[in-house]
Amino acid sequence: MTVEIKVFGPGCDRCRQLAKNANEAVAELGIDAQVTEVHDVAEIASAGIMQTPGLMVDGKVVLTGRVPSVGQVKEILGANS
């Protein structure tokens, strides 16, 4: 099953960095996952995120307000799958 990963952020540097790290983590783990970036502020707020960037895995917000390293994203993905 494809893992749904969403990166929330209005397009700031840190959001781009998080998306990059998430993509790298997915590639390194070799899992079947789809990384999408969410820029819409209403959608960001609806997800309950007040500090960007935010990371959502399969509908669950796992991290807000900071940029995890590639290793940390791998850990999160490992714990959630």
Partner: protein, 350 residues
Amino acid sequence: MSAPASAPPRTRSRHDLRLWVSLGAATLAWFALYRLNGPLWDWLIYDIAHLSGRLGDTVHFFFYDTVKILLLLAGIIFWVTILRSYVSIERTRALLGGRREGIGNVAAAGLGVITPFCSCSAVPVFIGFVSAGVPIGVTLSFLIAAPMVNEVALVLLYGMFGWQIALLYATTGLLIAIVAGYVLGHVRAERWIEPFVFETTVGEAAMGEGKMTFRDRVGLGREEVTRIVRKVLPYLLVGIGLGAIVHGWIPTEFFARVAGSGNPLAVPFAILLGIPLYSNAAGILPLVEALHAKGLAMGTLLAFMMAVVALSLPEMILLRWILKPQLIGIFIAVVAGGILIVGYVFNAIL
């Protein structure tokens, strides 16, 4: 410390010991560098390079200030990030939820100082607060105080001008946030907020990491230092560069003549100049320090600094997503008005 029977496994406590030893060593190194900064550049620039006069002073100002501010920044950001990791914006919102105006504005401004906040998340914070029932004026108090009165500004002001000025800045900054938020809460601002804000239903509060160890928090502190220093460095270097030029080349008392406390136009001019400028406290303070040394009045300078950090064009563009131009206009006018009063009051009493 003696190890009680219930102590964690040995490797763990040894790990923690190592963490504390390196924290201690880093703190000592920090103080040593801070003390050596002045004498080092005196020696290198005046004795070794034989620079003197204006050029020597300019170069000295540049290097001395760069090192001093970087040290202050790294130290403050590190410890404040660790302290702040115990506070979350979700908790702040919960605290503000049932507040009424007035006391709510006071609480919001105070929490704005201690809650971790980046102006890039002003919009999601606004929606998150308003949809959770925090009054608009209270939310705006938070959004004004958070970028204006922050730890970086306060520690740098303390380092350059002493605790009185830092305290004055904090008190008046908070006052502006409280009063401006209160005023904006009474202009029926709802009609100038994009309707989708009220239609947005906010999901369950996203939880950040619940259980972090102290080691995690130290790691977070280190990450923040690297990130923020990298981010402010260009502003800082431009600010210090301008400061160094002012320091070396502008005659003393020049500004006292053209923009001293006797000139009533100096404060509004400083604010108008500050609004479109985008920088942060770290970038603006070296310039403020140099201008102050040349006789520019403190009230005018603080007004300039507040206008630069509290009212920035990029932030207004972000806020345009959720606020109609009328409200943005009123927002700028009210905050600028508060800053204007602060500038005049300080010029009168300092």
